[in-house]
């Protein structure tokens, strides 16, 4: 790692001020991606602004919405009785991110701000039609993800919380990369206020995407049979030593059917 200054502000306002004052400074959430990147010397921030003291952790459920603070860890989401009751698919997704040590440190805000194309949370946020709250505004999930490692966040903008409308039913199925255990293909299926949504992470070259053909079919009939014959085009899907685009396309179908079955 290149050396940097470490700062731990006590509020979002102070964090924003520190980040605004130094264009080379970076926000540090759980660090589960950022610290490995820094260890590889792939990034050279002048300062890390640790958000752990900014009061951004916590879960609340009210009015059909689950609101999760940006600094809430995956383990907290996975074990939250409220989340398990309101959106069990979200708790299950959080409980399957990385390994338990990663879940003890990694945060929902960090994951979304980083927008790794193989991360799990983007699939849930997009499928559930969640709203990303920042220190400046609220951003609809559809507008938030803009290709891999690219989001609508502007410089100096920090995620403060994510609000998930409680769906009627939902499920997430992941086919992990055998080596890294990130999502090779992850499919989140939800039926909620905004209708049926099917999102795919891990597979697309541009990060998380909505599977419109499956959404349309499931809108008509929420059943495995409804999507059994929907082929996913391999064009635009990732290809690597573990899975070529064709195989990924096939797995999207399998994971989607399993998610539909699990959603009930």
């Amino acid at each position: 790692m290149y050396d940097f200054t470490y700062q731990k502000p006590a509020s979002v306002a102070d964090a924003v001020k520190l980040l605004g004052a130094d264009p080379e400074a970076k926000a540090l959430a759980g660090g589960m991606t950022l610290i490995p990147v820094l260890k590889q010397r792939l990034n050279k921030p002048s300062a890390l602004v640790d958000l752990a003291g900014a009061g951004l952790a916590g879960i609340s459920v009210a009015g059909g919405t689950v609101r999760i603070g940006a600094m809430t860890t995956h383990a907290t989401v996975a074990n939250s009785a409220d989340v398990k009751k309101a959106i069990p698919a979200l708790a299950k997704l959080a409980g399957g991110i990385g390994d338990k040590e990663v879940r003890h440190r990694g945060t929902i805000g960090g994951s979304l701000a980083n927008d790794d194309p193989t991360a799990d949370y983007p699939a849930a946020v997009l499928a559930l039609g969640a709203t990303v709250e920042t220190n400046k505004r609220t951003i609809n999930a559809d507008d938030f993800f803009q290709g891999m490692f690219t989001t609508a966040l502007e410089s100096g903008e920090l995620i403060t919380a994510i609000s998930f409308p409680v769906p009627e039913k939902a499920a997430y199925m992941k086919f992990p990369n055998p080596a890294s255990r990130y999502a090779l293909v992850g499919v989140f299926v939800a039926k909620g206020p905004a209708g049926v949504r099917v999102t795919v992470t891990g597979a697309g070259q541009n990060g998380v995407f909505r599977h419109r053909a499956m959404e349309a079919a499931l809108q008509k009939s929420f059943s495995q049979a409804a999507i059994a014959d929907i082929a996913t085009p391999a064009d635009g899907l990732n290809s690597d030593i573990h899975a070529g685009a064709e195989y990924r396309a096939h797995l999207v179908g399998v994971m989607a059917r399993r998610a539909v079955a699990a959603a009930g």
Binding site: G31, D99, E101, R105, S180
Partner: protein, 165 residues
């Protein structure tokens, strides 16, 4: 140079560190606690697992400064002062759950967290899944899984619920 004050194995320490100093570097290089190991640089192997305020974390993926004011327990801090091993350490020995010993400290710390966080019991598959963040190249995990199952009743003071087995 910044300073970090924290509690390590029950003792308060204050140490000079750089911003970039990792928690594992603080433990190994500044405090001489070399029981915590580094087996990879991609946060995969789990040889560096310690407890931070009672939960398992990878000390290679955390800055020393992030641990300010918190309590860290390493493998050196598990046994009682009289040398009596923690039940997990004892069961690892009893069931031959270690060979070269390099992954062992992280494996033990991770296993303790796993058992503590499952008061309802653990099936073999849950144990295997719970060790996802720890690599061992010697044992094939067979005896590690056995040792953890054997430690559960000792740590919870009751038999493992039958449903979990």
């Amino acid at each position: 140079m910044p300073q970090v004050a924290l509690t390590v194995n029950g003792k308060k320490v204050t140490v000079d560190v750089e911003g970039r100093t990792l928690l594992v570097e603080l433990l190994r290089e500044k405090l001489g606690l070399t029981g915590t190991h580094v087996g990879c640089d991609t946060s995969q192997c789990g040889a560096c697992v310690v407890h931070l305020d009672g939960t398992s974390v990878k000390s290679c993926t955390m800055l020393a400064l992030q641990a300010a004011g918190r309590s860290v327990i390493t493998i050196e801090g598990l046994a009682k002062p009289d040398g009596t091993l923690h039940p997990m350490q004892e069961m690892f020995r009893e069931h031959h759950a270690l060979q070269c010993g390099f992954c062992t400290p992280g494996m033990v710390m991770s296993a303790i967290d796993l058992v503590q966080s499952h008061p309802e019991g653990l099936s073999e598959q849950q144990i295997r899944h719970g060790l996802e963040g720890n690599l061992c190249r010697c044992t094939g995990y067979h005896n590690i899984v056995k040792a953890i199952a054997a430690a559960w009743p000792l740590m919870h003071g009751k038999a493992m619920p039958a449903a979990a087995e």
